[in-house]
């Protein structure tokens, strides 16, 4: 293949797709290359929860900005994207967690996100399937859910309509100095190569710290109206924080089909994509503790996926120091779907030298270079 293009995007997952869309929108010629197909990697494995996360200011800014972008496009989504604003309820099991609910409510309120504190009774009414007693929760109505593989395909198709090109089943083995080299020996020249290869990003940009974090999900048969909102335990962030131990957290999602999606688990240093019976059981039992009815629901499938995790829990978005032709757009851990659109926007901002709507500093890949003292 001898192609000349302005930007090559490595990876047609949700992040690569979003980058392609944002760049193509600005009339930049884009070529997307994926070793498989659109949205077949981590994008296919995740929950598709679009959520405003308050783990840090930088995380909040990115998730919030991106969430708004998802909302802006809502009139354009085909049914297959299954976008719905079903909202999230952060569930508090006890008074200590209710204090956290209060804090979260204030945090969101100060930043323009509507949320409602639910006491025990209000929680029961909102979600009759939750066990009793629980202390209450925080309802965030603006959070949404999408079906990621089709969302990625939607973004790719929009990019193609705007002049982008895509090559699937093609593996890129190295990038740099204005070239992306493929396994078959051919190469593509470009001004910039965007490394949106998720957990495989370090293979193309040696030196970045992105590690796979294995997760499990279970999907059930159809049980419409079993739950109405995405339900997440407040301990979720504790699980997401742990950098070494295996952990689970209650995270339940109602899909538009009426199926229930059950998560979540996190494991480090596991290369094997096989289902791990032990952590699966732990994850399920945690879910049973919140929604007892789950025990009797029919589970059709179980699968695993690998999130791309960075040590500071923020993705790498922007130019890679040491090679002006390489940009990074990877390391989104469990927020890839949510923050993909903002990532695309930031990448376009970097390419065009445009000021970003949110400070882009916290996500700069250069922070990793400094931390690890690379040349």
């Amino acid at each position: 293949m001898s192609v000349t293009t302005e930007v090559v995007i490595v990876g047609a997952g949700i992040v690569g797709a979003a980058c392609a869309y944002e760049l193509a929108k600005e009339k930049i010629s884009v070529t997307i290359v994926d070793s498989s197909g659109v949205g077949t990697g981590a994008t296919a494995a995740g929950m598709g929860h679009i959520v405003a996360m308050d783990d840090s200011e930088a995380q909040f800014a990115l998730t919030r900005c991106s969430q708004k972008l998802w909302e802006e496009l809502r009139e354009q989504y085909p049914d297959t994207v299954e976008y719905q604003q079903s909202g999230t309820i952060w569930v508090a099991a006890d008074e200590a967690e209710m204090a956290e609910v209060q804090r979260k409510h204030e945090y969101y309120a100060q930043r323009g996100i509507a949320s409602e504190i639910l006491d025990a009774k209000a929680l029961e009414e909102a979600e009759p399937s939750l066990r009793r007693p629980l202390a209450g929760g925080l309802l965030v109505p603006g959070d949404a859910v999408v079906y990621p593989p089709c969302a990625a395909m939607f973004l790719v198709e929009k990019a193609l309509e705007l002049g982008a090109q895509i090559h699937t089943d093609k593996t890129i083995v190295s990038i740099g100095n204005g070239k992306a080299v493929l396994r078959d020996g051919t190469s593509i020249s470009a001004k910039v190569i965007v490394n949106a290869a998720g957990q495989f990003a370090p293979k193309l940009t040696p030196g970045i710290d992105i590690r796979p974090r294995k997760g499990h999900l279970v999907i059930t048969e159809r049980y419409p109206a079993k739950i109405h909102h995405q339900l997440v335990e407040l301990g979720y962030l504790k699980s997401a924080h742990s950098t070494t131990a295996d952990s689970v957290a209650f995270n339940l999602q109602p899909r538009k089909t009426g199926q229930v999606l059950i998560g979540s688990s996190r494991q480090y240093a596991r290369e094997d994509s096989k289902v791990d019976g032990d952590i699966l059981a732990t994850m399920l039992r945690r879910a049973f503790a919140y929604v007892p009815d789950l025990v009797g629901l029919s589970a059709i499938r179980v699968w695993t996926g690998f999130r791309a995790a960075t040590p500071d829990k923020l993705p790498l978005i922007g130019p890679w120091p040491g090679d002006p032709s390489v940009f990074l757009a990877a390391g989104h851990e469990g927020l890839g779907i949510t923050t993909s659109l903002a990532t695309g926007r930031l990448i376009a901002d970097h390419y065009l030298g445009r000021k970003s709507e949110i400070p882009s500093g916290p996500y700069l890949p250069s922070r990793q270079q400094e931390a690890f003292g690379h040349a």
């Binding site: 048969e221 159809r222 049980y223 089909t257 029919s298």
Partner: protein, 81 residues
């Protein structure tokens, strides 16, 4: 010497020989086992528990493969939605 038992399918009472499967009973009665996701009436296809098209609600339990369950006296059977 087939003993008959009474069951109800979609509210209608009928008698079937003991040993009849739920799927056979529903097909016999001309009632769909389930309504598909796009609204089609469905009846059993494979008869051996593989295709899942014979799913019905049996005594309140949804998604039961009717071909793998024998009718019992007093069973309440509804088309699965």
């Amino acid at each position: 010497m087939h003993e008959e038992i009474r069951i109800r399918i979609n509210g209608k009472s009928l008698a079937v020989p003991r040993g009849t499967s739920v799927a056979a009973a529903m097909t016999r009665a001309g009632e769909p086992c389930r309504i598909s996701v796009s609204g089609q009436a469905r009846a059993p296809l494979c008869g051996m528990g593989i295709c899942f098209d014979c799913r019905a609600v049996v005594n309140g339990q949804p998604h039961v493969r009717g071909c793998q369950v024998q009718c019992e006296a007093g069973m309440e059977i509804l088309s699965d939605e």
